[in-house]
């Protein structure tokens, strides 16, 4: 990691210096990993990430930079926003993997949307189970089937994430065909997440019925 341009101390984040407290304007757009002083990697210790966020957030906190004028305060607000969006992306394994695949020159989801027929058939079946549950009365077997489906989908999500880790740790080289396999796993995650969100939404409706 680079040194502070103000006092020369080693930096934990390129946004501010922990030693002299100076806010730094990075010369170029930072990657989410750079923002938090990390090397690009799919494997990430969630606690370490959180610790870095909290320490850096304190350094750039607008309350500590307001006294030097409005410009300084705005810079601190910009830095805080950057930190938060970098953390948000890195804390989500799917978003992190998506960023790594794109950055390493892998296909985007619109460039590689093909999925195996068997998988898409399965997605269709999930949706049919969901539809049947939507139309059925609370307490019916159709509604009960939803809980089983949700458990199944969560297990599949864990498997897919484990598969992604096998593909992305260590990081494949730029343009590697492994990236396209990782994209297929990310596509699967998107379908899983969409269906799980719909199941959750239906469960919420059931918890607070407000039908006319």
């Amino acid at each position: 990691m680079a040194a502070c341009t103000n006092c020369g101390a080693e930096l934990e984040t390129p946004l501010a210096c922990g030693a002299c407290g100076k806010l730094l304007e990075p010369a170029r757009e930072l990657t989410p990993f750079e923002t938090l002083g990390l090397e690009p990697s799919f494997e990430l210790d969630a606690r370490e990430l959180r610790r870095r966020l909290l320490r850096a957030s304190r350094l750039v906190h607008p309350d500590f930079h307001g006294s030097s004028g409005a410009g300084e305060r705005e810079a601190a607000e910009r830095a805080s926003a950057r930190l938060n969006s970098a953390h948000e992306l890195l804390a989500d394994p799917a978003a992190r993997a998506d960023w790594l695949v794109r950055t390493l020159g892998g296909p985007s989801e619109s460039e590689q949307r093909q999925m195996p027929q068997a998988f898409l058939m399965e997605v269709l079946e999930w949706n049919e189970t969901l539809d049947a549950a939507r139309e059925a009365a609370p307490g019916s077997p159709e509604r009960a089937a939803l809980a089983g489906l949700a458990t199944n989908l969560r297990e599949q999500r864990e498997d897919v994430l484990a598969g992604l880790a096998r593909l992305l740790v260590p990081l494949p080289p730029k343009g590697s065909p492994t990236l396209s396999r990782a994209r297929a796993q990310l596509n699967a995650l998107r379908y899983l997440a969409t269906t799980l969100a719909q199941i959750d939404a239906l469960a919420l409706e059931q918890a607070s019925p407000h039908e006319a």
């Binding site: 619109s110 949307r113 027929q117 898409l120 997605v123 269709l124 539809d131 998107r190 379908y191």
Partner: protein, 131 residues
């Protein structure tokens, strides 16, 4: 975003919703999906000779995806396989006045037609080799 009248019509009265027996040798099944939005579309064709005599679809997705597949089944019924393969997503966009953000729905429908025709053809291929 406002849907066009034609989209709303297909959405509220979808044509040819349902399923055909996917194991039948005269039926071709295509399942396609859009990972960006989680939409998934199944389109099936029943073929006699080289003509599509029936078509069914089942789509889980937004109104435009449902309308695109509904329209696709209407269009391919009675067409030959080659005529069906010639259908372009741009024709669906034009007919339904789809906005740019919904163009991928029409692409999905075009892909589904192609997948169904290819599935039917692959079912026929081994038989032709035998005879």
């Amino acid at each position: 975003m406002a849907y066009s009248k034609k989209v709303l019509d297909h959405y509220s009265n979808p044509r040819n919703v349902g399923s055909l027996d996917k194991h039948a040798s005269t039926v071709g099944t295509g399942v396609v999906g859009a990972p960006e939005c989680g939409d998934v579309m199944k389109l099936q064709i029943q073929v006699e000779g080289d003509r599509i005599v029936d078509a069914k679809f089942k789509t889980f997705g937004c109104g435009s995806a449902i309308a695109s597949s509904s329209l696709a089944t209407e269009w391919i019924k009675g067409k030959t396989l080659d005529e069906a393969l010639a259908i372009q997503n741009t024709q669906i966009v034009e007919e339904l006045s789809l906005p740019p953000v919904k163009i991928h729905c029409s692409v999905l429908a075009e892909d589904a037609i192609k997948a169904a025709v290819n599935d039917y053809k692959s079912k026929q291929a081994p038989k032709e080799q035998q005879s």
